[in-house]
């Protein structure tokens, strides 16, 4: 991209930066308490909450990575959207209403309250830091590719720029900033995709013409490149993992009520539907319109800068920029809460003031952003593969302690710790040594199964939780 379109792209990104910094500064004072910074004062309504949930989920893994997935593997990955939604329904039924029974701020808050264990809190905080470094590196990698492709900027510089933007607005605004930028992201994604999809389809010749072209290249592109087992495994990891993901739990804590949380999940479905249909169309159309890209992850950048006319392409590119900076912000915020709230405030200095915890939050955002930047420089795999791998680790670690802990009275502290450590170890070992996968099980499935087995076996063999904990979480179940 050169000349006026490149200038317009920079102007749009600059305007976006001004907007997010403005939102951040506007809320800076409101975000001066820990509840304000990490949970937006529990003020989010259903639409803003839905936008926040969607904006956390729809990362660069979607707007850049899934477009790349559709580009190289065709249609079948689209089924992961409705399958992932099953995970959200599980969250709406079994997680969101119950986790709001304590006025927590983070997922480790819940783990400590439910299992009366500071060890569970500490383990969760450390694993969250490790997995989210990986997840954040995918956002920076996507950003680096996009800025590099558009402007000719070196990849390393582009990654640093993206990291800088993300860190800046997270430091300024915390969850308030994240929520309002999430709404902006939702509007931008829906608006730009609603225009780009019909335009692209009309020029490429429609769905049938795309199908003819792709089938002739490889019949798997229009049928099942990914088999049902693979799709189920990926979707299980993504969907169930999202329902129990620390940044989504933090967003649920930021909502006004349990009912708001359920409605917000519905609104997030609406936003996700636009994104799902959009990225599918983009990936398949690009494979027909420009079949030999150097890497599939360039699908969205090339679509925005070289295929669509600037008045459609620039909003699509800006939506991608907003996507990876906003999801990066949510991840950084979760990291900040893990450090300041779960490690510093709860374990290192329990008498810390609200003010000092917010300061530690902001400092940890700045310090932590260096690790994923270093990972992003290496470009380990396609963006969406990095996201999927992080999701598999997270679901193996957290899903069972969250869902079983909230819905089974007999779950105990020892069971939870064994479940977290065993699930993570099983996922890692299965990935390392189980190729092709033993018994046809994906590492995420193995991790969840081992985690569940350990939770049940160890809980049954150990002393039940105290009456006070059971009253808090199961008070309505006599």
């Amino acid at each position: 991209m050169t000349g006026a379109p490149l200038f317009a792209f920079y102007a749009l990104v600059g305007a976006y930066l001004v907007l997010v910094c403005g939102i951040g500064l506007w809320h800076y004072r409101r975000a001066s308490t820990e509840e304000g910074f990490l949970a937006a004062g529990r003020s989010l309504g259903p639409i803003l909450g839905g936008a926040t949930l969607m904006a956390n989920q729809v990362s660069a893994g979607a707007t850049i990575g899934i477009v790349g997935f559709h580009y190289f593997s065709g249609f079948s990955y689209a089924w992961s959207w409705p399958l992932v939604w099953i995970g959200w329904v599980v969250a709406a039924l079994f997680i969101a209403p119950r986790i709001r029974r304590i006025a927590g701020l983070t997922l480790p808050d819940y783990l400590e309250a439910r299992f009366e264990s500071k060890a569970a809190r500490a383990i969760a905080a450390v694993v969250v830091l490790a997995v989210y470094a990986m997840m954040l590196s995918a956002q920076y990698q996507a950003g680096g590719l996009l800025f590099g492709a558009i402007s000719g900027m070196p990849y390393v510089t582009a990654v640093l720029l993206v990291a800088g933007i993300t860190t800046l607005y997270t430091v300024l605004g915390g969850m308030y900033s994240n929520a309002y930028v999430g709404l902006f992201k939702a509007v931008l994604l829906v608006g730009s995709y609603a225009v780009a999809v019909p335009y692209l389809l009309s020029h490429v010749g429609g769905v049938h013409a795309i199908g003819e072209a792709l089938t002739a290249l490889d019949p798997r592109l229009t049928a099942n490149w990914f088999g049902w087992r693979q799709l189920l495994a990926i979707s299980l990891a993504m969907g169930l993992g999202l329902g129990a993901a620390p940044y989504e739990i933090s967003a649920i804590y930021a909502m006004q009520s349990k009912r708001t949380a359920r409605l917000a999940i519905g609104w997030s479905f609406l936003f996700q539907a636009f994104v799902g249909i959009g990225v599918l169309t983009f990936g398949l159309s690009m494979r027909v319109a420009m079949p030999q890209l150097p890497t599939p992850d360039l699908g969205t950048p090339v679509l925005g800068m070289s295929v669509l006319p600037p008045w459609i392409g620039l909003p699509v590119l800006l939506a991608a920029v907003v996507t990876f900076t906003r999801t990066g912000g949510a991840i950084l915020l979760t990291v900040a809460s893990a450090v300041s709230h779960d490690l510093y405030g709860a374990l290192i200095k329990p008498d810390a003031t609200d003010r000092s915890k917010v300061l530690v939050s902001r400092l940890s955002v700045i310090a932590f952003s260096a690790i994923p930047v270093a990972l992003a420089f290496r470009q380990f795999a396609l963006v969406n593969f990095v996201v999927i791998w992080a999701a598999k680790l997270m679901v193996s670690f957290l899903f069972i302690p969250v869902i079983v802990g909230l819905n089974w009275k007999r779950a105990t502290r020892a069971g939870a710790v064994a479940s977290m450590l065993g699930g993570t170890a099983a996922c890692l070992l299965w990935s390392r040594y189980g190729t092709p996968y033993w018994f046809g099980l994906d590492p995420a499935e193995a991790g969840v199964l081992v985690s569940a087995a350990l939770m049940v076996a160890v809980s049954v063999a150990t002393r039940p939780a105290s009456a006070a904990v059971l009253e808090t979480f199961f008070g309505d179940r006599a």
Binding site: R42, A78, W81, P82, R100, A103, G148, A149, G152, M153, P154, Y155, H203, G205, V207, I210, G211, E212, A213, T215, A216, L217, P219, T222, S257, K258, R259, L263, I265, G266, F269, A273, G276, I277, L280, V288, A289, M290, P291, Q292, L293, P294, T295, L298, M305, S306, V307, L308, L359, R362, L363, I366, A367, S369, A370, I371, V373, A374, F377, R378
Partner: protein, 244 residues
Amino acid sequence: VRRFARVAGVAGACAATAIGAAAQGGGNGPAGAPRSFARVTITPHADGAVEVRQRYVMPDDTGRLTFRVLSRPCAIVTGAAIVAGDRGAALVAAPQGPWTQLDDTSTARLRTDSLGFELRYLVTLTALDADVPIVHLVRPISRETGGAKPVTVIVNTLSVPDASVTFPSFRRQGKAAWVGEFVALPSFVHVAMPDSRVMRCMRPLEPNSDGGLSWRVVLFVGIMVAWVPLYLLWARGGGGGDTA
């Protein structure tokens, strides 16, 4: 605030050091001019004939030359041949659904070094609002993912001054040319000719199987469209208590 700024400054310096160290170990170099490139010149005429010339230079490429072209309605590609130095060879066509594969079956190897080669063919448009198919190699011209754009496509509209290129994204250069720069060759460009509204393309391509994509897309979109209101109805009606 001063204390915050001081500590943040230290943390930022540490972060920058770590980033710098990591950058030493990995990352791409600055984007320079592409070593491999293709330059495509498309010259449409008022009678619907379109000449296409593609110059390829790929110094690092040693693979066999295989091309592919996507059929578009009301556009016929003929006479595809490659020329390198004093050697010329027609390409052998093999249809694959809406694509046609074009192979250089001659035994003499073409040079893809800094001298490069040229691919020439003619497209005949039977309507004035048709797409012009672009023949492309079945592998990327360059593996670079930075800002370098190894493909330049020039549509020379001297013979049809009012023509414009509407897909993909081109920019006008002077009065008689449209230029597009890409990381890979597009499979077609749409040149809007004068009077194209009068001579619209009415002849569809021979139908081929879409591999079930249409019904899959309908089912997928249907699930998405139905799911949202159903879920919201449930959440509104049975959303449980309203306490935090």
